[in-house]
Symmetry: D2
Subunit: 204 residues, 4 copies
């Protein structure tokens, strides 16, 4: 990375450009390729208002903010250590349209402007509740992407989005492996697979 | 899709918005999720000059042209039917910065301006030759992404890029599955896995 | 295949050795590699009593019967066309320890001897009910493997097996791709991913 | 595991039943699901003579020996620490038909009886040489399975087996994810993907 932050138009910032914290305080982070696809499934506009719920290190918030340059990203996060990382990573990439919301969803969403897009990266066990509140605050034609790393998250989001009358819009599983040099050899290293559940608030 | 083409800032256009031709003339196309990741690995700038070699339907060329709005995409394709599809898909998405080059690489690259980025989607059995010519026409700091759907393409690109002194920059394999409604059930449908070999022309 | 049936000690019979029916009557079949892993997760003994629920073509029943040579496999299937295929495939491989049960689970399980192992390949929308009945007919230390090709099946089996107090025993997702010759090239073809949910009736 | 070793007829022994060594001496091991599929692709008979080249912990050798009970498995391994593990794991599972060959292939193969089956798990950079020697020592109708965890191994085995006139017999890639309990959640953990290159010595 240069001093200019991320100088590219496209998503997919390498993992090691983000600050994640040290040792036991290290925060889980969505990996480059998954993050790139999350951004793609969000279908951001340059002026989108985005909620990033369970923002963690802020890596997705940063990518979203770079795409929605005239929009705004609300990065909701309850852990104080992670909140500091989101601020640090925003600075690193020179993005000024991320608002960090230190608190727990869905309560922390009170008072935010309606959203065009929502990404749910973490839900602290309150996924159904969050989905219902978020659905009511999403604009017509808006999109929700749930980054599901567990069976429960996958099943719950599919079920609740259907109950809420959301249109299915491309739920996928993504399995990525990277090559790693070990001596002269390039060994395949598997990342953890992720499911992205995508819902669209259909206009009638 | 609306009449306005693709109104989003991010890559990942749904497959069915592209024209692919009918019946036996149907042209193979890189699927949405893979295409999104190809664009991410290319790391486009808004003014990038891009070669898309073996452009097929032009789906990647269109996505690249939408990201590199002040740049230019040279879509190289030898098949006449595919050339017509690239033109048709450019029109559909209202992109005017794609130049279709009807011919076979590497000869067809003669006379093109140097490239910032190269995507190789098809090589007609001449991959090594193409890589060597392309490497010489790529600017310092430029990137090559090879979309490898066969073992030979994977192995050849890794070997040749290494011989050419390119830096490794994130070679990955990608496996995507989508859910498909069959009655009340959502069945996982696997897409064909793809490897993206990524090389960077290192500056000294 | 020779006239002698399957002459190998190990599971993993190639798909094209099974009869699947023609055209619209073609019955879905668990593919070789997945089938091999289903058999592995079942942990059969040579005298196991196995229920194969939703047996389809009987491909898993045949593999199980070959491993549990002194045991018995009850292949439960409601579709008449599939029942005929199970009989045909049993003949082809010369296995005589498959009993075809033409009917719908769980009712069709009435009167069967207690099971050591259960594989659920299809449930006709009655998965929870089937799991509860099957759990009561499974011997202590027995195993259930659910072949889940949909999100609902995955989520329901995990939830119900947990409620029933079953031990988790290696739930996995499996993604297989095969190479296929297309001219000189070997193209990767992705199969549909499958999750195997594995439960063990724990002894106290 | 009970004192009786592995009491099941089918392959797929859980990873933690094998001894792998401690700390820096820990030896890489083929994981349960991959191992199960390796055994399936080998198509063992009860009296098969098997070479396991680069046997590591002996986990595949043990599984093969359990299937080929009247056959013999030659576990070839150059590292002394691994040789000790193979002996230890053979004892654990009570298999007596594994012969440990301490040495480096292909030289270490001198004097062994012709093979019915060969699994190559490691080649110490001498894969092509090993394949050529092994091909000459393989009986007609015999099978070679190469467990390829790198791009080079994959490409070299496909190329050399083709040059040697072997029939292609089901080359596959396998990507496995397991669920892991983290609190109440079951998170998907990806294993490293593996390609199995399978060749058959065709009879004329």
């Amino acid at each position: 990375m240069t001093d200019r932050g991320w100088e590219f138009a496209t998503p997919g910032i390498p993992d090691d450009l983000f600050q994640r914290g040290q040792g036991p305080a290290r925060v889980p982070m969505t990996k480059e390729e998954i993050r790139c696809l999350v951004i793609g499934k969000l279908r951001l506009k340059s002026d989108s208002v985005v909620y990033d719920i369970g923002a963690g290190t802020g890596s997705i918030a940063v990518e979203a903010a770079l795409q929605a340059r005239e929009g705004r990203v609300f990065a909701v996060e309850k852990e104080e250590a992670a909140v500091a990382l989101i601020r640090e990573n925003s600075r690193r990439f020179g993005v000024e349209n991320i608002a960090v919301v230190h608190g727990e969803a869905p309560e922390a969403l009170d008072g935010l402007p309606p959203a065009d897009r929502v990404i749910i990266g973490g839900s602290g066990g309150r996924l159904e509740e969050i989905l219902r509140v978020v659905a009511s605050r999403l604009k017509e034609g808006g999109r929700i992407v749930v980054n599901a790393v567990t069976i429960d998250t996958l099943a719950t989001s599919v079920k609740v989005l259907e109950e809420l009358g959301f249109g299915e819009a491309g739920t996928v599983s993504l399995t990525v492996a990277r090559t790693e040099r070990v001596g002269a050899a390039r060994i395949w290293k598997g990342l953890n697979p992720v499911c992205l559940v995508v819902g669209e608030k259909v206009m009638y």
